[in-house]
């Protein structure tokens, strides 16, 4: 069941390397690696020696070799999301102005990287983001507050309380998640059938 688009729905304008940046940090997930490959085609290789890549491969392990071939200053493959976010947090804590952050991957990934960046006092508007890979969403249940990652259907059963949740376009930048609301709260049992909306 689709809901009408609303203003809080994030817009991802795409990666854009700033030639003046003293240092560029790329946080890439899965198919997000392709966003960097395309940047290199468009903007040349000059920025790579001043770039560091944090990569969470997921099902796209094949891109690791491509990233290493670009020979940036550093490529670091993270075993899981938490470890990537911790690495990023540590990097940003000692980074200087002139450092540019570029993020590409699924919406859930981008949202959680932006949370770390905002905690590090970076204005989200100065971060370049590009949506790549699955349309799956990270959703917070507005009732029990549990997060469910990789949501592809709406409605879906909350991983915390089990309620049938309608996935809204209402997005929380603070939480890095879409909001899920009980779909048949007023008349239980009347939920519409589930639909794959975010493959």
């Amino acid at each position: 069941m689709r809901t009408p688009a609303i203003k809080s729905r994030p817009v991802y304008a795409g990666l854009q390397v700033n030639p003046h940046a003293r240092r560029t940090l790329f946080a890439l997930q899965g198919e997000g690696a392709k966003a960097l490959f395309e940047q290199v085609e468009r903007a040349g290789r000059e920025f790579l020696t001043r770039s560091e890549v944090l990569f969470l491969a997921g099902n796209s392990v094949q891109h690791l070799a491509g990233l290493q071939q670009l020979a940036p200053h550093l490529v670091r493959q993270a075993p899981n999301l938490d470890s990537l976010l911790q690495r990023l947090r540590d990097d940003l804590a000692i980074a200087k102005m002139g450092t540019s952050l570029q993020v590409a991957g699924t919406e859930g990934f981008i949202g959680q990287v932006l949370q770390v960046a905002m905690d590090s006092h970076i204005d989200a508007a100065s971060i370049c983001t590009e949506h790549r890979g699955s349309l799956a969403r990270r959703v917070q249940c507005v009732h029990c507050k549990q997060f469910t990652d990789g949501v592809t259907h709406s409605p879906f059963a909350c991983s915390g309380c089990g309620l049938g949740l309608l996935v809204r376009d209402h997005y929380s930048r603070r939480l890095g998640a879409f909001q899920g609301v009980n779909v048949d709260a007023e008349a239980p049992g009347t939920a519409p059938s589930l639909e794959e909306l975010y493959p």
Binding site: N18, H20, A21, R22, K96, G98, T99, M118, I122, D123
Partner: protein, 320 residues
């Protein structure tokens, strides 16, 4: 329709703080308290004399939590259009003035990890209130203040006394200048830069910051652009059914106000966009002097910022 926020005030103290700078302490005539404000805010002072009506914007430099009085500083400008001359020569202790409520178009970005201030001359005034605010909040800041000579700089002693080593003073006369490039290269991520002073200083600082990879979200500036003088001309105010003369030293906004027409404004310096006025008819060329409209909007000739912009030609019709 401008929002009527005017407060009747009286000059309670005048201090000559430097060669050409006077500080005015303003209190409410009824003895009441004033609204708190946030650092970077300005007020608009209305002046009435033989020359007619004039309104100038001045940054509040007193502490934002101080509600018994406001303080502003006025530099005596050599080629004054009248405002600074009026404040310096005609305002005495006890003079009654009308002052607007504070408006802030130059606020501190509270999300910042650190705040770096670059001031040139009288551009120090908004920063004085900002530093008080940040000090109270225990936030990290550093000021770099360029002055022409020790007797020109209005507040360097007071600021060094209050904030110690976080205040750095550079004196042109001693050939010591702010090391802008070095400062830009060594700031922790999340630093915000604020610059206020002469146009050349603002432009050079912003260019250097962009070249050092700073994003525009972290760059803040305030230009005190007085309305530039030009040729006299006439404007037709369609809604009011009036034909108003604008003198060479007057802005359209000032001429319209003198004619008794109420037009909206906030900054009176071409920065805020509040006084954007639709152009209904034009036979001639608009002279856009503002920093608000985009280049595309400027060439479209569809609107005009009447606080600073002018006109050359045969006829200009405005939606006022």
């Amino acid at each position: 329709m401008s929002i009527s926020t005017d407060m009747p005030m009286r000059v309670a103290e005048i201090t000559q703080v430097a060669d050409r700078v006077k500080r005015f302490r303003l209190e409410r005539r009824d003895g009441g308290t004033l609204p708190y404000f946030s650092g970077g805010a300005h007020v608009v002072v209305t002046m009435r004399d033989a020359g007619g009506l004039r309104r100038n914007a001045y940054s509040l430099m007193s502490a934002p939590h101080e509600s018994s009085a406001y303080a502003i500083s006025v530099l005596h400008v050599e080629k004054s259009r009248g405002g600074s001359q009026f404040m310096h020569e005609q305002v005495d202790l006890g003079t009654e003035l009308t002052v607007s409520q504070p408006v802030n178009l130059f606020p501190v970005d509270q999300r910042g990890r650190r705040h770096l201030f670059l001031a040139g001359g009288i551009g120090i005034t908004p920063f004085m209130a900002m530093l008080e605010q940040l000090e109270r909040g225990g936030q990290d800041f550093e000021l770099h203040y360029a002055i022409r000579g020790r007797s020109h700089g209005a507040y360097w002693r007071e600021l060094q006394g209050k904030f110690g080593g976080r205040v750095n003073v550079y004196c042109d006369a001693e050939k010591v200048f702010i090391p802008v490039a070095k400062l830009l290269d060594d700031q922790p991520l999340g630093t915000h830069l604020y610059v206020c002073g002469p146009t050349g200083m603002i432009d050079a600082t912003l260019t250097m910051a962009r070249h050092a990879g700073w994003p525009q979200q972290n760059l803040h500036f305030e230009r005190f652009l007085g309305p530039p003088a030009g040729n006299a001309f006439r404007v037709i105010l369609q809604r009011s059914g009036m034909d108003v003369a604008v003198e060479g030293r007057q802005s359209i906004l000032e001429a319209v106000e003198a004619a008794g027409v109420d037009a909206p404004f906030l900054c009176r310096g071409g920065a805020c966009g509040q006084c954007a006025t639709a152009v209904l008819g034009l036979d001639g060329a608009l002279e856009h002097n503002d920093h608000y409209l985009s280049d595309a909007e400027k060439v479209s000739n569809s609107k005009l910022m009447i606080c600073v912009s002018r006109f050359k030609g045969r006829a200009l019709v405005l939606d006022l």
